[in-house]
Amino acid sequence: MNAKIFLVASGLIWATAVQPQGYAGLGTDAEGFAIPKPDTGPTFPADHGPHPDFRIEWWYLTANLEGADGADYGIQWTLFRSALAPGEAAGWQSPQIWMAHAAVTTKDKHLFAERIARGGVGQAGVQTHPFSAWIDNWQMRSADETIENISLSASGMEFSYDLNLMADGPLVLQGNAGYSVKSASGQASHYYSQPHYMVSGTLSLPDGPVDVTGHGWLDREWSSQPLAEDQSGWDWFSLSFDSGEKLMGFVLRGARGDFTSGTWISADGTAEPLEPGAFQAQPLGIRDVQGREMPTHWHASVPDKGVSVEVLALNPQSWMGTSFSYWEGPVTVTGSHSGKGYLEMTGYE
């Protein structure tokens, strides 16, 4: 789930367009910002909190839910942090900017909202004792410093949700012990996930409240320069199979060839990084999404693991028309494995 962030980096409401050197300017050099290092594994609970010396960071949660009415739902809750300069300062002098996106997706509706805030004044932030991430009245909160048991809420003009998430498995370190390489030339990020949430709660939709249960997936990632100069966007998959196994895979589309990577998570939660190229994804169906041609139907495969599946969007119109826009929505999986998941696609302009 990476990516939106990048957008944040280049400047929120000020931004105008995708920069030629990369999606929303993320391919530029990091100036004064910390650079991810392969040998610094994450430590908890400290790394649940923010890393202001890095340019970008996010707390990115998606969940596939099923209503008491039997219908499928998806929700997204994302808090982005973007630093104009490394470090933190008090009050309005803080260089940190926060942005959050929330969405609820049904078969025929995609409702979303956005919030933006300055760091330093308390309007948004993340703290670790106990864990709490918030912007305005959107919150991801734990009673302690772990993220085992969290409550999640957000609201837009037409929707709101209030959910409880309980982790049913261990944290997963993506890439090489939490160091996730993003290009052949070595761009990388720190990246871990909690893909084992059991979710229950209530969605408030225009037609009324719906009680829901399901599974959630949290991604934590921070970096200063995650894209190579030639890379223009990515297609990112987080799939939970009925077998209990999970797959995270992404394709970074580049002028000098695509870069793919991913992680295979076995049913007991053991994570195994996939070699570059081990994960493959090809579009099967193109749909018109808000005036863009976008692949909302995919074939994804990891031959080593015997995975060959079709990934189909629950709602092909899951477009996040926010300050930085992208496609993000729940998917269903059929084929060698069946299950559900989330798909994110950026850089389709």
């Binding site: 929120l12 000020w14 105008t16 104009l84 009050g91 309005w92 309007q123 305005d136 709101s160």
Partner: protein, 805 residues
């Protein structure tokens, strides 16, 4: 038939060009004054709304603190309750000895952020650069140039859409410049709020919610009184102008009665004739309306600088740009002229419509039966005044004040004919000799035809007395107040705090008392409040213009235990000595006294300097008032200038400050004086047209008197005398009316409009001048008819007997 009747009707004007000119001039004058006032008002209002719209927050509600500021922690709490709010911090920053208004906003939340972003980009600034040091100031191109001249640290981006005189910046820069890292002035409530939030009244009971409209119309509300005032003047002028027109229309129809009778006898239907007269009036009104609009436009253009001076002087509101022509203004001006013309002609046209086919003309000149209508008019006058009294006793606000004024003026005008008629009856009873008795009776007989013109004169004279008394009282009070308030002999401002300290030290060695004039700008209930820090000195104790105070006021205030506030602040918020004022969050002081502070639109407070320095760290201290013997002033100024590098304009002696203040004061009331004079001029003109109208109607009455041996010269003299008599009577009646007017202006309108009450002074010499002016107008108005009478061909007088007319 039309082609036959029309030339006959119109030929009248060829024979009476002066009458046509009077009619057009009267209408044009009425329309001109009215539309000038409308143009000025429209321009000023457009200017305010431009200023409000420029910020783009005109349509937004606000949350303002009761006093002082809002801590940013409170802002974060309210955001965390779900409300979408945009924070604003306002204040004044000094660069290079110049003051600049700074508005700090969160560029990520403020509704205008996209415009600022675009401007920054056009200025080739990187995105979000404005959020980081050295920040970026956005300002109207004219103001941007000033910013740029005064400092080079912070880049300045010109943006046409911003109001002049203001620098907008991100809060990271603004809070730094204003040295207020933890506080906000107010919060804008953004238009789209998610449903289901707790009400703000519960979440933030300490903040006041100001709805969008009220928040937007700060300036408009403040200046409403002024525009209401102008509108009242405009209406008065319009009404007075219509009196002229009424007289002329009546005259033109009167003189054409013979022709009308002839035309009707020849078979022209009355319906057609009336239609033709209406068309004629409409055409004349149209021409006059256009002329009036041209005059109005020119007059407005001439008066606008005065209006600007007034608005700037009284309210600190500026009206920018020059006059622009608005289609709405043109149409409303023309409509007003047409409507006015028909209103003025209604009675005459109606009389024409109802006229028996062979009616003899000039019956209207015999006014004996008019006394009944005088009584009716007087009754309605009394009723109008009573209605006004009821309004003012129920509502003590600005609109009620003006309503009362309107009712009073109208009611008095309606009473006038009865009063004059009574006076004339009394005169007639006391008269001895046939000719004198005839003079009184004849004057009385003329009253119906003259009453409208006399009403106009009454209104104009009363307005002059009232407004003149108000302005003069104000000026007298203001001068006395300046003497009290400006007790230091020299006022000096150093270039920096360091130089200020050096100067203070040096002055001490010279044995000169230097009183600090430091101040801090803050807000009280969202309105600007300037807090002065003063040093205890006998000069304050003996001079300061206190209106109301607790015992030991100076001891308490000098100790820092209490605060003095100006009258405006006290009246606006119902504060009286003994109540508590919160100057900054947590800094609450009891009010010990209230002082007058004329000419200042904003709230002001005074505390002991040490107390202010304690609560406002880094308070600039470079402005001083120096006490010196008057004969030493110039030496002292020269000495200071030799020793310190202080520009000439930063050292001022008391006399100069006073002269400058009075100059501003006088400029403020230029427009009032101009309108006053114009109204009087119009009233004089109304008198002239009435007399001209009566003149031709009166020949049948004058002819017998002449035939009995009274010479034409004597008749002419009687004519002038009569005019004088009526004008004098009207002027005498106008005086009490004007004084009541002045009282309402000083005690009701001023309090509501400006927040200060003024004592009323009487200026009998001004009244005398006005009385003479009224007589002069009467003589001038009567001169032409009298001159014609003295030169009339005896044959014309004889014709009265020969002619059946």
């Amino acid at each position: 038939m039309i082609s036959a009747a029309l030339p006959a009707i119109l030929s009248h004007w060829r024979r009476h060009p002066l009458q046509l000119a009077t009619l057009i001039a009267g209408l044009a004058l009425a329309a001109g004054l009215w539309s000038a006032v409308q143009a000025i008002n429209a321009e000023a209002r457009a200017s305010y709304s431009r200023a409000a719209e420029q910020l783009g927050t005109a349509g937004l509600a606000r949350l303002v603190p009761e006093s002082g500021s809002i801590p940013i922690a409170r802002y974060a709490e309210l955001r965390r309750s779900g409300w979408k709010l945009a924070p604003v911090l306002e204040g004044v920053v000094r660069f290079d000895r110049q003051s600049f208004d700074i508005m700090g906003v969160d560029l990520l939340q403020h509704p205008n952020a996209p415009d600022l972003a675009k401007a920054a980009e056009a200025d080739s600034a990187a995105p979000l650069e404005a959020l980081r040091p050295p920040g970026r100031i956005f300002a109207h191109p004219e103001t941007a140039a000033l910013f740029f001249k005064a400092q080079q640290v912070h880049p300045v981006t010109p943006l046409e859409a911003l109001p002049r005189g203001l620098g907008m910046a991100d809060l990271s820069l603004a809070s730094h410049l204003l040295r207020q890292p933890d506080s906000l002035s107010y919060l804008l409530v953004l238009p789209e709020q998610p449903p289901g939030l707790d009400p703000l009244a519960e979440l933030a009971p300490e903040l006041t919610f100001i709805p969008a409209r009220a928040a937007a119309s700060d300036t408009a509300r403040l200046t409403d009184s002024f525009h209401l005032n102008l509108t009242a003047f405009g209406l008065l002028s319009f009404a007075v102008g219509l009196f002229i027109v009424q007289g002329t229309i009546a005259l033109s129809l009167e003189q054409r009665r013979g022709m009308i009778r002839t035309l009707r006898s020849l078979g022209v239907p009355m319906r057609l004739l009336t239609g033709l007269f209406i068309a004629e009036l409409a055409a004349i009104a149209l021409v006059a309306g256009i002329a009036g609009l041209v005059c109005g436009y020119l007059l407005a253009a001439a008066l606008l600088p005065g209006v600007n001076a007034t608005l700037a002087g009284l309210y600190g509101a500026s009206v920018d740009g020059s006059l622009s022509l608005r289609p709405g203004w043109v149409f409303s001006g023309l409509a007003m002229t047409l409507g006015g013309a028909f209103l003025a002609g209604a009675r005459s046209l109606f009389a024409l419509w109802r006229m028996p086919i062979l009616a003899a003309p000039a019956t209207r000149a015999r006014g004996q039966q008019a006394s009944r209508s005088h009584v009716v008019s007087a009754f309605s006058g009394v009723a109008t005044i009573i209605a006004g009294l009821v309004i003012i006793s129920i509502y003590q606000n600005l609109i009620a004040g003006f309503a009362f004024l309107g009712a009073l003026m109208l009611g008095a005008a309606l009473l006038l004919p009865l009063l004059i008629s009574a006076g004339l009856s009394l005169g007639a009873k006391m008269a001895k000799g046939a000719l004198t008795e005839w003079l009184w009776a004849d004057t009385r007989a003329q009253l119906p035809g003259m009453s409208l013109a006399l009403m106009a004169l009454l209104l104009a004279l009363a307005a002059n007395v009232g407004v003149g008394t108000m302005v003069s009282s104000f000026r007298l009070t203001f001068t006395g107040w300046l003497d009290q308030r400006l007790f230091a002999e020299v006022y000096v401002t150093a270039a920096s705090d360091a130089q200020g300290a050096e100067l203070a030290q040096w002055l001490e060695t010279q044995g000169v008392t230097a009183l600090s004039r430091s101040y801090h700008d803050t807000r009280f209930k969202s309105a600007p409040l300037r807090v002065y820090g003063f040093e205890d000195d006998s000069a304050y104790r003996s001079n300061w213009p206190l209106l109301d105070a607790l015992p030991d006021v100076w001891d308490k205030t000098a100790r820092g235990d209490s605060v003095l506030i100006n009258e405006q602040l006290a009246r606006r918020h119902g504060l009286v000595p003994g109540k508590i004022l919160e100057l900054e969050p947590g800094w609450r002081l009891p009010i010990a006294g209230v002082y007058s502070d004329y000419g200042n639109p904003n709230g002001q407070a005074m505390v002991a300097l040490q107390a202010l320095q304690k609560h406002v760290p880094g308070l600039p201290n470079r402005s001083f008032g120096l006490r010196a013997a008057p004969q030493e002033v110039s030496t002292l100024i020269t000495l200071i200038r030799q020793r310190f590098d202080i520009p000439r304009e930063n050292i001022t002696d008391q006399a100069t400050v006073k002269a400058r203040s009075l100059e501003v004061f006088d400029r403020t009331f230029v427009i009032t004086a101009a309108l006053n004079l114009l109204t009087l001029g119009v009233a004089g003109f109304a008198l002239l047209t009435s007399l001209l109208t009566l003149w031709s109607q009166r020949l049948p009455q004058l002819a017998p008197v002449w035939a009995m041996g009274v010479t034409r010269r004597q008749l002419a003299a009687a004519e002038v005398l009569r005019s004088l008599l009526l004008a004098a009577g009207t002027a005498v009646l106008a005086l009490p009316l004007g004084l009541v007017l002045a009282w309402v202006l000083l005690s009701v309108i001023n309090v509501a409009a400006f927040g200060w009450k003024l004592p009323m002074y009487l200026f009998p010499l001004d009244w005398l001048r006005l009385f003479v002016l009224a007589l002069l107008a009467a003589v001038t108005a009567a001169a032409l008819p009298a001159w014609r009478l003295s030169r009339i061909d005896p044959a014309d007088l004889l014709k009265v007997f020969a002619n059946e007319r």
